[in-house]
């Protein structure tokens, strides 16, 4: 057993805590934190910074009756006193899929679609907010050489892959920026399953993958 070695950069964790990370990236970060005590501790220390700032924030005057009105509501159920409460996550981790991912999968197995060459993908989100998908890559198979217009986050859920920048196994997170043109190749052994998110379309570097692009819908 080896530890997770490729973690979430601090800037992403701070943006995740502050809520400025685009939703597709936030989901990948929440999934990684669910697998990685190191990043959970880092995330919670960003909350501590936020808390320290809150604690030293200048106080604003509350309107008359605000406190007594609130105190009078304590015995009412939460959904009666909070307008549009945030949906509470209900999903539990299952197999290789941590809880936040099962939440997006609505507790069902991924709906895989073939991409040829033994590769499959399951699209979880594809809109102007970015793309989020699961990739299933057979051992030894290369994902078409591609670059990024924005950032791409890839989190390994099963097996492992290698590319120009290193080796990534379960729990490892690869952060690829605009400059990186890479060709991830699944290592031998197990099928590699990854969660990948981008906030802008990928750029493929050869004709064949360009034909792939409508399939990838990315």
């Amino acid at each position: 057993m080896t530890a997770i070695t490729q973690h979430t950069p601090d800037a992403l964790l701070a943006a995740y805590a502050a809520g400025t990370l685009p939703p597709v990236f936030a989901l990948v970060v929440a999934t990684h934190i669910s697998m990685c005590a190191e990043c959970r501790a880092a995330y919670e220390s960003h909350q501590a910074v936020g808390g320290a700032l809150l604690d030293s924030a200048s106080e604003a005057t509350l309107s008359d009756g605000f406190k007594s009105n609130l105190m009078a509501q304590l015995d009412l159920p939460m959904d009666q006193v909070i307008t549009r409460p945030a949906p509470q996550p209900t999903a539990k981790a299952k197999g290789i899929y941590p809880a936040p991912l099962m939440e997006v999968l609505k507790n069902k197995p991924p709906r895989w679609r073939s991409l040829g060459l033994g590769m499959k993908q399951a699209i979880l989100n594809a809109d102007e907010g970015g793309s989020l998908r699961l990739l299933h890559i057979p051992p030894g198979q290369a994902v078409p050489d591609h670059g990024h217009n924005g950032m791409e986050l890839t989190l390994v859920l099963q097996g492992s892959f290698s590319d120009e920048t290193g080796h990534f196994a379960r729990g490892d997170l690869e952060v690829a920026d605009e400059e990186l043109e890479h060709t991830p190749v699944a290592d031998g052994g197990e099928v590699c399953i990854c969660l990948a998110a981008t906030d802008a379309p990928l750029r493929f570097n050869s004709l064949m993958p360009r034909l792939f692009q409508p399939l990838f819908r990315i």
Binding site: L62, M71, P98
Partner: protein, 249 residues
């Protein structure tokens, strides 16, 4: 976070002293009034090395909860009384401390007066209803409320909520660890001190980042987010929790 995992921090040499100075079991005069840290678990009173001699304690104000755990910040004592006793007076004290700050903080992040108060109300009611999620071994009350407030502000603007990490639960029957709780408190104080020593423009950027006014790209160009050593301490707090992280792969 690209560095290798930090080695776990050894407990500070004075950890036992911290336990000594903190009366977890409620003897010495306050029996029956120990709201702070009371969990439905056996108290530590049978441990002979726990409570020997208490240092002189300055007189406590008469607000609730009753004097106990002299080293715990009042916010922590109030929050534990809310969590474990559903103590409304303690909640009122939390309200008095946090609600005006929350309103100031929320206005700074762009929500105008009336809406800011709605958010303050939602946040404080969430604090009351979700109190069982508060874990003083990992967070000060302020950190916990900060995240609730940010989540609420985001959720108001999004159809789907912000994705949350899987929640970790304490192993059943765990006893509170006073030295860990106090260490988190001390680390947070150091963090606050470090923030107050920053140059105004640097502090301003950090406030912007945590108020949600900077993109992650903008944050990555900022150097030196002032995390200090608190991460290693929170990591120790996580060790107490039930999870399968150890056998990940």
């Amino acid at each position: 976070m690209s560095e290798k995992s930090d080695p776990p921090l050894p407990l500070p040499r004075n950890a036992s002293m911290l336990i000594d100075s903190y009366d977890i079991s409620g003897h010495s005069g306050t029996t029956g009034q120990n709201t702070a840290l009371k969990r439905p678990v056996p108290a530590l009173s049978s441990d002979t090395d726990v409570v020997k001699e208490r240092p002189p304690v300055s007189p406590q104000p008469t607000d609730s909860p009753p004097p106990n755990g002299a080293d715990l910040a009042p916010e922590t004592r109030w929050m534990l009384a809310v969590r474990d006793q559903r103590d409304k007076a303690a909640f009122a004290s939390l309200f008095d401390h946090f609600a005006p700050r929350l309103k100031g903080f929320i206005i700074r992040s762009g929500s105008a007066g009336a809406q800011a108060e709605e958010i303050v109300q939602d946040v404080m009611l969430t604090v009351w209803h979700k109190a069982e999620q508060f874990d003083p071994h990992r967070a000060q009350v302020s950190a916990w409320i900060y995240q609730i407030a940010r989540n609420r502000q985001i959720d108001l603007h999004r159809k789907l909520g912000r994705p949350l990490p899987e929640e970790l639960k304490e192993e059943p029957g765990q006893e509170p660890d006073a030295s860990q709780i106090i260490a988190v408190q001390q680390e947070t104080q150091q963090l606050k001190d470090a923030l107050s020593r920053l140059a105004p423009n640097q502090r301003d950027m950090i406030e912007k980042a945590y108020l949600g006014e900077l993109s992650h790209q903008a944050i990555s160009t900022q150097t030196g987010l002032p995390l200090g050593t608190i991460k290693s301490r929170i990591r120790l707090g996580l060790e107490r929790l039930r999870h399968d992280l150890k056998g990940m792969r």
